[in-house]
């Protein structure tokens, strides 16, 4: 495997989405190429950065309440419809 192929595979490698054969090929290449090893570490880091640095917003309480209420409300409505029929 050459460096170009290895670099394309790295993205899927950090996600654990390589086939067995690809993984084997990449591992072999990394064991022989220090540049690609460094590159692979960077690829892992980029994934971590996105995961860690992107702020998660909390759903507003009003939305939480309305969703929590949703199943109950729609069941009630269904029930009322049945009763009135």
């Amino acid at each position: 495997m050459n460096c170009k192929t290895a670099r394309v595979l790295m993205s899927a490698a950090v996600d654990g989405e390589l086939t067995g054969k690809e993984e084997e090929g990449l591992r072999l290449h990394l064991s022989q190429c220090s540049d690609c090893r460094m590159e692979y570490e960077e690829a892992k880091k980029t994934k971590m950065i996105v995961k860690e640095k992107i702020v998660r917003f909390k759903a507003p309480q009003s939305l939480v309440d309305s969703i929590m209420d949703l199943s109950f409300t729609s069941e009630k409505e269904e029930q009322n419809t049945l009763v009135s029929e």
Partner: protein
């Protein structure tokens, strides 16, 4: 001795008891399987619409639809992925097919939020010499937002939400190979952006510091 008046308004608890066992089961299963993903869905909706009101509506619609069609959810599969798919479809229907633009992007809200977060989190990154670790939330967010939507979307679904390629492929209605190559290309662009920030702030990216 008091007798229950059947015409009297019953309490919610009593009403609940009037539901059939099957409906009660559906309700509690829905709470356990679907409602737990509310925050993730809200964030996805925010990223898609960039507007809190639109995100709110989108999540509400999604849950309404999900509840209605909960019987079609294949038990044992990823409920979060199922909900994301519904939300994405709703989004397309609302904002694309009707050629309706999402509401105004609320940059101020997002900016304010990042400013408060930045101050509270800065301490932890001060000990890090690695330039990636000195990147701020706002910078990573801006870099991600600057990517073409098809790249941003897959990165978000993969790195932030943790979906598998197969799940993402199903959500974005593209082959797995496309998801894979979009991730590769998107990450390449993202890294260029991030390194741009690092350089701007005087970090030497060549040495990895």
């Amino acid at each position: 001795m008091t007798r229950t008046d059947p015409t009297r308004q019953s309490s919610p608890e009593q009403k609940k008891n009037t539901l059939s066992a099957e409906e009660q089961k559906k309700q509690s299963e829905f709470q356990q399987e679907a409602v737990v993903h509310l925050n993730a869905l809200y964030n996805y909706a925010l990223h898609l619409t960039m507007n809190p009101d639109d995100a709110n509506d989108l999540v509400q619609e999604t849950y309404l639809k999900a509840y209605k069609f909960f019987s079609s959810f294949e038990r044992g599969t990823n409920c979060k992925a199922w909900l994301f798919k519904i939300l994405k479809n709703n989004y397309i229907n609302r904002f694309r097919k009707n050629s309706r633009e999402p509401g105004k992007v609320d940059y101020d809200l997002i900016k304010d939020f990042y400013h408060t977060i930045k101050d509270t989190r800065r301490d932890s990154s001060e000990t890090e010499t690695d330039y990636f670790h000195t990147l701020l939330h706002e910078e990573v967010y801006t870099a991600l937002q600057s990517l073409p939507e098809e790249f941003r979307e897959v990165i978000q679904l993969c790195d932030i939400e943790g979906f598998t390629y197969e799940e993402i492929a199903n959500m974005v209605e593209s082959p797995i190979g496309t998801v894979r190559s979009r991730l590769y290309r998107g990450r390449k662009l993202l890294r260029e952006q991030l390194e741009g920030y690092a350089k701007k702030f005087g970090f030497n990216t060549e040495t990895g510091r």
